[in-house]
């Protein structure tokens, strides 16, 4: 039996090498922040509002302070009351949250302070002893009500609209008039939760003698957390060290500093530097972390008889909850994605990101694209239907192409969308199936999508860096700021480094996401890591290789450019003759004559232009990835039960650095999309989550799976590392629409509200019956 652990991988790019951190994970030896227990460690708990909207009259912590075992209690008076948020660069006025509120609370769970005690029990007891007097204010929970004049005012924003994004191109009025067919549809996509298996957890320690902070945490973006901490604590970036340990999933939920991170540090300061661990319970995770924006989509579009998409107009309203978080950019992403997918000249959609007294909506895998994917791709099918055109043909006629500039100035280079559609439709036997299986209540539907790889959301740059340090024994120490929360970025980036260096993958030791040790990286979001951090890693490896070859060239009196390293050997490029092994080369570098340290550095910042949110113009990403997805369903008309038979996903990934990982990302996305389509629905009553547990908020289980087929399309992007593009999120975007479209093909009813439940199917079937009867009369 060949053991994984003993297999050797040279030229690892394009190969499914095992995860670099895999052994620790399968043996349970890897320590997550969740597992860490430091000497003297205290347990921290957040003091939260029990009111959805209220003025704080009085906070009395005295009883809790006198409880034995309580080590520190902090409230707003211990802070500088500095606001933080996630879209400071683009939307400075949406920086609206403070770590602790002292005047007013805006949702059930709003942080008012925090407690640290010797154990969980004492902390909980102390929480119960905190007395807060509120003066309740009228609250608003429905996003449409919140926009009405006279609605309770949550922040200063007029009609509770935190951000309006008017995106306007061409002359949509005229284009609609010139259309042969115009239709209007309303869609609704519900709230969902991330449900990372490892809950939010952090350990803060404030070294009182040096006034320096260390924060160990489960995060997607340690450098962003560091920045927010520095700002809110009025400290230098260099006073704070954020260390990401193994992280049990992120999915957008661990992308920001939360008040808990701030609290862990400040609690530790007040407790004379004892470390403080704050770990969310599953209930807190559902109720108080972040959630997906519920979105109302109104779309009115026109097409020509030949299928030409003339204009898209409409409105998007997003329930933002109590604070902005990433909301404004989520809304923007929900609106702009359409330009990457469809060639459209005339466009006018207004987006509204609205405050309510619900918990905070923020980033979640797909970043607005899931809600828009459902709405837009359902709408496109209805448009095709209106002119009697096959939905695939309709899409092929209107999709974007390689090397084009979109109406809002996105520069699309590689684009495999057409191939994705062709491959997916071929694989599923589209022509034989579409419209042909109604007698057995089976149907097939398509959805297409595109995604960015990066978004310039950190200040004005989005650079990533790398250090490749090679020791005398040939060990390659690779440092990256990218945060692996399970997607496998440490593995993929190490593959890139090994490939470029010409050594086996097994040589690489990867250290990642520690703000004091590794280079800067904005974090794991917007499917950016393979593309941006990947290029940075490639550049670091190139630099290190050049340093080695410089020494070898000197020794052998030849030109550096004549040399290369391949398969662990330094070779002459022209005849591939071996000069020495990699190990010998390193011995040479560190020898008496040279004593040359090999420390490569790499940096990468994609050449993009940020979106101008007044117009919607800009090229947000260095490249774009594409996909086509097809769902086949069978519907039981008696019970409304939908069986998802199979999903096909053809994905333009540029180049699969690790095909197995890429498939894993796609399959994980698909199933997350399936869960969202059919049952994930975080429900609220008067601002309180009513289903904060896995029994009542169902995520897919092993028994809920459709068959899945992934098809990787490699377009070799000219700017990607070895041609690779980002792909961590796109597969989730069109799933709901592909399924809704398939359902219509099967039984002729259209579901426009998610989730698609059997009850909704039956209701739609009944309405269809009534309508038919009416028509017959």
């Amino acid at each position: 039996m060949t053991k994984t652990s003993k297999r050797i991988h040279t030229d690892p790019v394009g190969k499914s090498v095992p995860r670099i951190d895999g052994k620790g994970l399968v043996t349970g030896q890897t320590k997550y922040t969740f597992d860490v227990n430091l000497p003297g460690m205290l347990v921290g708990k957040m003091i939260r509002s029990t009111q959805a909207h209220a003025r704080i009259v009085k906070i009395d912590t005295s009883k809790a302070e006198n409880l034995p075992g309580v080590k520190s209690i902090i409230t707003a008076k211990d802070t500088f009351n500095i606001k933080f948020g996630s879209n400071e660069f683009f939307f400075p006025h949406t920086i609206d949250q403070m770590a602790f509120e002292s005047e007013k609370v805006r949702y059930i769970g709003d942080e008012i302070g925090a407690i640290a005690a010797i154990d969980e029990e004492t902390a909980q007891k102390a929480l119960d002893l905190i007395e807060i007097e509120y003066e309740p204010l009228p609250a608003v929970f429905d996003v449409l009500d919140a926009m009405k004049p006279g609605a309770p005012k949550i922040h200063q924003a007029m009609n509770n609209i935190a951000v309006i994004l008017p995106v306007n191109f061409g002359n949509p009025e005229r284009a609609l008039k010139e259309s042969d067919y115009v239709r209007e549809d309303n869609f609704y996509a519900q709230v969902a939760a991330h449900t990372c298996m490892e809950p939010h957890v952090c350990i803060g320690q404030w070294e009182t003698f040096s006034n320096k902070i260390t924060l160990w945490m489960s995060t997607q973006a340690p450098f962003k957390v560091r920045e927010a901490l520095a700002k809110t604590l009025k400290m230098g970036l260099n006073d704070i060290r954020v260390i990401k340990l193994a992280s049990g999933g992120g999915f957008g939920g661990k992308l920001e500093m939360l008040p808990m991170d701030f609290a862990a540090c400040l609690l530790s300061k007040k407790a004379n530097g004892l470390p403080v661990k704050i770990c969310y319970t599953r209930e807190e995770e559902f109720a108080f972390s972040r959630r997906k924006h519920a979105m109302h989509y109104k779309l009115k579009s026109g097409v020509k008889k030949d299928g030409t998409l003339m204009a898209i107009t409409g409105e998007v309203i997003a329930d933002g909850g109590a604070y902005c978080s990433y909301g404004p950019t989520v809304l923007a992403a929900a609106m702009m994605r359409i330009f990457m997918v469809y060639k459209i000249k005339h466009f006018r959609v207004n987006g509204y990101r609205v405050y309510t007294n619900n918990p905070i909506s923020g980033a979640i895998r797909g970043f607005g694209g899931v809600q828009s994917g459902f709405s837009v791709e359902s709408h496109m099918d209805l448009l095709a239907q209106g002119i009697g055109m096959d939905p695939v043909e309709f899409r092929l006629k209107n999709i974007t192409e390689p090397n084009m500039v979109t109406v809002n100035k996105m520069l699309i280079s590689s684009n495999g969308l057409k191939e994705c559609i062709e491959k997916a439709t071929e694989a599923c036997d589209w022509k034989k199936k579409i419209g042909q299986q109604k007698d057995i209540c089976r149907g097939i539907g398509i959805g297409i999508a595109a995604d960015v790889m990066g978004s310039k959301m950190y200040k004005s740059h989005e650079s990533a860096g790398s250090i490749v340090k090679i020791e005398e024994d040939g060990s390659v120490y690779f440092f990256t700021g990218a945060a692996d929360t399970g997607q496998g970025s440490n593995t993929a980036l190490s593959q890139i480094v090994a490939q470029e260096l010409g050594v086996k993958y097994e040589r690489i030791k990867c250290t990642a996401a520690d703000t004091e040790i590794t280079p800067f990286d904005t974090g794991s979001f917007a499917s950016r890591v393979t593309f941006i951090s990947g290029n940075a890693s490639l550049n670091g490896a190139k630099d290190a290789k050049r340093q080695i070859l410089t020494v070898v060239a000197k020794e052998h009196k030849c030109e550096i450019d004549d040399l290369d390293i391949k398969a662990e050997k330094v070779i002459k490029k022209e005849d591939e003759s071996v000069i020495m092994t990699f190990d010998e080369a390193l011995e040479l570098c560190y020898s008496f004559n040279y004593g040359e340290q090999i420390i490569g550095r790499g940096s990468f910042n994609p050449t993009t232009t940020p979106i101008d949110f007044r117009t919607g113009e800009g090229n947000v990403s260095g490249s774009y990835s594409f996909e086509a997805q097809i769902a086949e369903v069978e519907v039981n008309k008696e019970t409304g039960k939908i069986t998802l038979l199979k999903l096909w996903d053809a994905h333009d990934v540029g180049k699969a650095i690790n095909p197995q990982s890429v498939e894993g990302q796609i399959e994980g996305s698909l199933i997350m999309g399936v869960g969202y389509t059919f049952f994930e629905d975080l429900k609220f009553k008067n601002g309180r989550v009513v289903n904060p547990n896995f029994a009542n908020y169902r995520i897919p289980r092993s028994v809920d799976l459709p068959e899945m087929k992934t098809i990787l399309i490699e377009t070799n992007d000219p700017k990607g590392p070895f041609g690779a593009k980002g792909m961590g999120e796109a597969a989730l975007l069109p799933t709901a629409a592909a399924i809704a479209n398939a359902i219509e093909d099967a039984i002729g009813v259209r579901i426009k509200n998610l989730p698609i439940t059997p009850a909704r199917i039956l209701k739609a079937l009944n309405e269809q019956k009534t309508l038919k009867k009416g028509n017959e009369k």
């Binding site: 154990d119 969980e120 029990e121 119960d128 008696e638 019970t639 409304g640 059919f678 049952f679 169902r698 289980r701 028994v703 809920d704 059997p758 009850a759 039956l762 209701k763």
Partner: protein, 280 residues
């Protein structure tokens, strides 16, 4: 700390259990733990007092095991749902127990949860009561003096499933001729708790239903029989259209009147499926 402090007792024999039960005031019995531990956590979270004593039955050998006697099957209280699924003794009409047990919750839960817990936890949506009522099972308890008492499952649930005695086992009569079916509908996936479950039995003879027994659990009340439906079926021939007709002969108060249109619709499908199966 997930639970509030209590004293843990691990008696080795039935006598020890009874001693403890008699001696201790504030106590709860622990079987598989899948209900009790969550319940204790919930009480703690809500700041409600939890019992001072927990008595585990795990080590009491007399409460474990399945045995097939002449005309009846005995399932002891501590038998896990998984043991039911794997037992070679569950033949004939008892196979329905396997079908029901296999459909409850998830694998690790089935490996822990016991028949005793399922029958006496007093959650309306547990699934074993329905099948026990249909199978005319008898539940056996032991009182504080060690005396055995028994009660028909049907009666036990009719009385509100209350008992301050120790549940020891359930016995089920063998009925080789019986035609049996179990139908359940769940909200989303089979691992979810059922919205409605029906266990139906009939000894079909000369193209007629006979001796039918229909036990229904609509998730709100404890499982109970639908006598109106039974009576109707007992007078009916086995026919194709019988399932549709039967819908006009239901004891409507059983079927959760507050439920929405969809649930009502699904109830009907579930009933029809059961009757169709029974008519086979």
């Amino acid at each position: 700390m997930q639970l509030k402090p209590f004293t843990f007792h691990s008696p080795q024999s039935l006598n020890e259990v009874l001693d403890l039960v008699n001696k201790l005031q504030d106590k709860k019995i622990l079987a598989g733990g899948t209900f009790l531990l969550n319940n204790l956590r919930l009480l703690k979270k809500r700041g409600i007092k939890t019992p001072q004593n927990i008595i585990s039955l795990r080590k009491v050998e007399k409460l474990h095991g399945i045995s097939l006697e002449k005309n009846k099957l005995i399932i002891k209280a501590m038998t896990t749902l998984c043991e039911l699924c794997e037992s070679p003794d569950l033949k004939h009409n008892f196979q329905i127990l396997k079908i029901v047990a296999k459909g409850i919750a998830t694998t690790p839960i089935r490996n822990m949860a016991t028949i005793g817990g399922n029958l006496t936890c007093r959650y309306a949506w547990t699934e074993m009561p329905t099948v026990m009522i249909a199978l005319e099972a008898t539940m056996h308890f032991i009182d504080e003096t060690g005396k055995e008492e028994s009660i028909l499952a049907e009666q036990f649930f009719k009385n509100g499933a209350k008992s301050n005695k120790l549940f020891s086992h359930v016995s089920i009569p063998l009925q080789k001729q019986a035609n049996l079916t179990y139908q359940r509908i769940s909200k989303q996936s089979p691992v979810d708790i059922p919205l409605l479950a029906i266990c139906a039995k009939s000894q079909n003879a000369s193209k007629h239903f006979s001796l039918t027994r229909i036990a229904v659990n609509s998730g709100v009340n404890f499982a109970q029989r639908d006598f109106i439906l039974e009576e109707f079926l007992n007078k009916s021939k086995l026919s194709k259209s019988i399932d549709e007709e039967a819908l006009n002969h239901l004891d409507n108060k059983i079927y959760d009147a507050r439920s929405d249109e969809y649930k009502q619709h699904m109830f009907k499908i579930c009933i029809k499926n059961a009757i169709r199966e029974l008519a086979l």
